[in-house]
């Protein structure tokens, strides 16, 4: 193999790669925030007494977990305009990723809610809180602390999924990497640097999450 490594081309554009990484992070953060709302609502729906509501939530989770995210991205971007829903590429991607993560987070929150001791809710009601305030003030905060590790893993995989935004030309890291690859033909350097950036970003996020987990862990 005779290949002369030359990182100059990649270093020259390193700042746009970094900006792409930043955009990916922003997309992931916004999507997981919306996804958390969807997931919370659906997790309560999953535990509802009404069969039809349970069923609707199950269908949502099953459909979005089992459909490739790339198909969802393309559907939102290219097919929804036929319904008169015109979204820019970034908005469209955020919508897709939020809906997709909502399905995964529903499962996370549902198992979190099921694992809570019933005494928690009863205690809340006993001191005179309404059902709704018990949820907001007691059940959900405790549940969040319990599911934090699973939530963190979901965030990391969402962050990796932001690479797919490149397909609809959202200028994130993978988009720029493909561009540099085509413009300079420094193939190995480009992909090595791009994947290392993802790996390092993921490790840093994982480390931060682990620290937060330890700090917020419920003492035994």
């Amino acid at each position: 193999m005779d290949y002369d490594f030359n990182f100059a081309a990649v270093w020259r554009d390193f700042d746009i790669l970094l900006s792409g990484l930043g955009l990916g992070l922003v997309l992931a953060v916004i999507s997981i925030a919306i996804g958390c709302l969807i997931g919370l609502c659906l997790a309560f729906a999953m535990l509802s007494k009404k069969r039809s509501i349970r069923w609707a939530a199950t269908v949502y989770v099953s459909v979005f977990r089992n459909t490739p995210i790339l198909v969802l991205i393309l559907f939102t971007f290219f097919a929804l305009p036929e319904f008169g829903i015109n979204l820019g590429k970034i908005e469209s991607f955020i919508v897709t990723l939020s809906v997709y993560s909502g399905a995964y987070l529903t499962e996370v929150f549902r198992s979190g809610l099921v694992s809570l001791p019933p005494g928690l809710r009863e205690a809340g009601l006993t001191v005179g809180l309404t059902e709704f305030r018990t949820k907001i003030l007691i059940t959900i905060p405790v549940m969040f602390r319990r599911v934090l590790p699973a939530l963190g893993n979901n965030f990391i995989s969402l962050f990796k999924d932001t690479s797919l935004a490149a397909v609809i030309a959202v200028p994130e890291l993978t988009f720029y990497a493909r561009k540099i690859n085509v413009e300079t033909f420094r193939v190995i350097e480009t992909w090595l640097v791009a994947s290392l950036m993802y790996v390092i970003a993921c490790s840093i996020i994982a480390a931060i999450l682990r620290r937060t987990e330890n700090r917020l862990a419920i003492p035994k």
Binding site: P68, V71, T162, S195, V199
Partner: protein, 220 residues
């Protein structure tokens, strides 16, 4: 939206679409079948390898899990041809998915082996089993039950990730659908159709997994 028109378009493109469907199944099946044994090897080394070996495999696994599959596929596609390994897009894609699968299966196997009590290994050793005897007749049967649900999820992940091969020009179901769309402009109906087919594939895998799980579960 005209459903008859869409069904007509799908029917007249049934052979290319079926071809794409076949490719999707083939890509997923080959990647899972190659990636699983490789992953078991990764898991074994992570659990029992010596320090140097463990370090190398740890790096391999962390690197692969920290990189988005999409980047992995693009990197394999572009880099392999540069270093003189002439693979078709199909082969490069399957190679990338195999690596992806192996790292995930490796983590699952390692996790499962960790939960088996040490007494099992000690008991096996004291009745005179070799390392492989211990692994195949004592540890693996127990680990398999724990591995199965997560392994099934990994299989559906691979099916979903196989759509990414459309970006490097492998005519699997998604690209076949996109080719029909570029002829008929029925993006809404046809993306919906592709999503439905992928959903059905994964739904079937999930149900089959549940069935096997129930068959092999221990009565308690």
């Amino acid at each position: 939206m005209d459903i008859m028109q869409a069904l007509d378009a799908i029917w007249s493109a049934r052979w290319p679409l079926l071809d794409g469907f076949g490719n999707t199944i083939l890509i997923s099946a080959v990647s899972i079948l190659l990636g699983t044994p490789l992953g078991v090897g990764v898991g074994l080394i992570l659990s029992y390898g010596n320090r140097v070996l463990r370090f190398i495999v740890r790096l391999y696994s962390d690197f692969l899990r920290g990189t988005p599959v999409f980047v992995l596929i693009l990197a394999c596609f572009y880099i392999l041809s540069i270093v003189g390994i002439q693979l078709s897009a199909f082969q490069a894609g399957v190679f990338a998915l195999t690596l992806f699968c192996s790292s995930h299966v490796g983590e699952i196997v390692q996790g499962a082996l960790k939960t088996i009590p040490k007494g099992q290994t000690e008991a096996a050793k004291s009745v005179g089993l070799t390392f492989f005897g211990t692994f195949f007749s004592v540890l693996l049967p127990q680990a398999l039950r724990m591995i199965l649900p997560t392994w099934v999820t990994t299989a559906t992940e691979i099916v979903k990730a196989s759509t990414l091969l459309s970006v490097i020009g492998v005519v699997e179901l998604l690209l076949a659908t996109q080719q029909v769309i570029s002829r008929t402009y029925l993006s809404l109906e046809l993306y919906f159709f592709a999503g439905l087919v992928f959903f059905l594939i994964n739904f079937a895998i999930e149900k089959a997994g549940r069935f096997v799980e129930r068959k092999v579960s221990l009565p308690n």
